[in-house]
């Protein structure tokens, strides 16, 4: 067994460490500038200033107006607000188009709309997980309310052609939403054709429990949360000032570091693909190039993903799996099913997701440990590989 001096975190698609500079930016807003941003007094005015400053900073990262940014508790809420809020505000339109590889925070609101009598079209993807923009065009009907296609997939990293899809939606007068949780800060986003966009802070070295929804000016949404009328009536609830400040700091950090971090993560990904592909019985899930820089997903024949994650954990390496063994229906992840990974391989999937703190040494250590762990598990499996 290889002894490790440190733990290696390769699960940045699940969540990330809050960056030290982000924590420092948040610090004063817990017990110094702790006012309610709606209060009239100085404590409140200081908090309001911080919230509006954060809104302007985030808007700037997207090249949009501050009044088009609405703070939420995270991307799950942002996705729900986009989908259900748009539906409730436009009751005459009863059809939604999405894809089979969306995050559950998009799929489940869509499934809920179906229980309310809506039609939902779930588009297929190709073997790399890409949606065909022409399939979007073909699915649009007179009563189509919304098209929701993620910017980059959280399990396999595949980048979706959202610029083209957004154009088609605009040609046809259909609203276009994208879940940009994994893509924001990593790749350029075509805001000119996006009507609604969801982001979460904790995926980009910001705090958990805060996110935002970009809503193009002029789009009406019905709120999910009613109360004090915060966020111009769209999202009631006292502003999470430290979280919002932290998200803005994380967004600025991600944008300022992008030119340095993203090429590094791409190099790591290329190296992971090159090295893991050399092992017998492995398959890359997702596109070799048209991918987010930080997500790499492989399947390993003859072994099951959860065992692989647990064995790597023994070595201090944190990863994740789209394997099914923890789901009651025993099916592998909907994403791996949608790209038609054979079931024997889908059960042995491993997601490696890097971040700004990942080092070349950590990748080297992971690549040294992995073959040993794979060989150990294959040795006790009835399915022999590479013999």
């Amino acid at each position: 067994m290889i002894e490790l001096a440190e733990h290696i975190y390769l699960d940045n698609s699940a969540t990330t460490a809050v960056a030290l500079e982000v924590m420092a930016a948040m610090q004063p807003y817990f017990s110094v500038v702790y006012g309610n941003a709606s209060s009239l007094h100085g404590f409140g005015r200081d908090a309001r200033r911080a919230v509006e400053n954060a809104r302007a900073q985030i808007a700037e990262t997207l090249g949009v107006q501050p009044e088009e940014i609405f703070f939420t508790s995270g991307a799950t809420e942002a996705n729900n607000l986009a989908i259900k809020g748009l539906a409730a505000a436009n009751p005459e339109k009863r059809h939604v188009i999405t894809t089979k590889i969306e995050h559950h925070a998009v799929l489940h609101p869509c499934a809920w709309l179906q229980t309310q009598g809506y039609d939902v079209t779930y588009l297929d993807v190709d073997a790399y997980g890409r949606v065909d923009p022409e399939a979007v065009r073909a699915a649009i009907r007179d009563d189509t309310l919304l098209v929701s296609v993620m910017a980059g997939n959280n399990e396999i990293g595949t980048i979706e052609p959202i610029a083209r899809i957004g154009e088609i939606c605009h040609e046809r007068g259909v609203r276009f939403h994208t879940d940009a949780v994994q893509a924001y800060g990593k790749i350029p986003l075509p805001l000119e054709v996006i009507d609604l966009l969801s982001v979460s802070a904790h995926k980009l070295n910001g705090p958990k429990g805060v996110g935002f929804l970009y809503v193009r000016r002029g789009i009406k949404l019905t709120p999910l949360l009613h109360g004090g009328g915060h966020e111009r009536g769209l999202r009631s609830g006292t502003e999470n000032t430290p979280g919002i400040v932290g998200m803005a700091a994380a967004a600025q950090l991600a944008m300022s570091e992008q030119d340095e971090v993203v090429p590094r993560l791409r190099e790591f990904r290329d190296r992971l693909i090159a090295e893991i592909s050399k092992l017998p019985g492995t398959k890359l899930n997702g596109h070799p190039k048209e991918s987010l820089p930080h997500i790499t997903n492989f399947s390993f024949a003859g072994i099951e993903g959860e065992s692989l994650v647990m064995r790597l954990d023994e070595h201090g390496i944190a990863t994740s799996t789209g394997s099914a063994c923890s789901s009651p229906n025993l099916e592998p992840s909907h994403v791996l099913q949608a790209i038609k990974v054979p079931l024997s391989m889908a059960h042995g999937s491993l997601r490696i997701s890097t971040g700004r703190d990942t080092t070349a040494e950590q990748i080297a250590t992971f690549l040294a440990v992995l073959p040993q762990v794979v060989a150990d598990l294959r040795a006790i499996s009835p399915f022999k590989v590479g013999e």
């Binding site: 019985g281 072994i303 099951e304 959860e306 023994e314 923890s326 079931l343 059960h347 006790i380 009835p382």
Partner: protein
């Protein structure tokens, strides 16, 4: 989520691999549901002429719980007489591991099923009478497998269309 005992058996499993001189094998599970267990037994007569499981081993494709239950069932069954081994239940396996998360209980069932099937196959090959309880369980295991395969048949067809034999 897992007990220390489960983790311990997962990290350092007992009796893994394939016995070179096994008398019978029980094969259960299906790759479509992510767990496959092959359990090998070597049956010998002890000094008092009783048939015992003198040696046992397994090969498992599955999660942490599947590997830990494989290890545990082999520990429990080793040295037992055939009659004693038949009486081993999935609850015995789960209990010995200090319990399993509810979603993983099927893994302990798989381990007990594999032992059941190995003994069944041994008795059939030896031309013995099959105890009714063992025969009932065998029929139940076969029926469950059938149901699973049917449930996944449609999905597998779409897979084969896309990938031929697959991985």
């Amino acid at each position: 989520m897992y007990t220390e005992k489960v983790i311990e058996h997962f990290r350092h499993p007992h009796n893994q691999g394939k016995l070179p001189d096994y008398t019978a094998v029980g094969k259960v599970g299906n790759i479509v549901c992510g767990d496959v267990m092959w359990l090998y037994i070597k049956v010998e007569q002890d000094t008092s002429g009783r048939e015992v499981i003198a040696d046992i081993s397994w090969e498992t494709f599955g999660c942490t719980a599947a590997i830990a239950t494989s290890s545990m069932v082999s520990d429990i069954a080793k040295g037992k007489t055939i009659e004693e081994a038949i009486a081993i239940t999935n609850k015995d396996v789960a209990d010995e591991l200090g319990g399993l998360p509810p979603v993983k209980l099927h893994c302990s069932a798989l381990a007990a099923d594999a032992l059941n099937e190995a003994i069944y196959n041994y008795l059939v090959a030896a031309g013995r009478d099959i105890p009714p309880a063992l025969a009932r369980r065998h029929a139940h295991i076969a029926a469950e497998m059938n149901t699973l395969e049917q449930r996944y048949a449609a999905f597998l067809e779409t897979q084969e269309a896309a990938h031929g034999e697959g991985g």
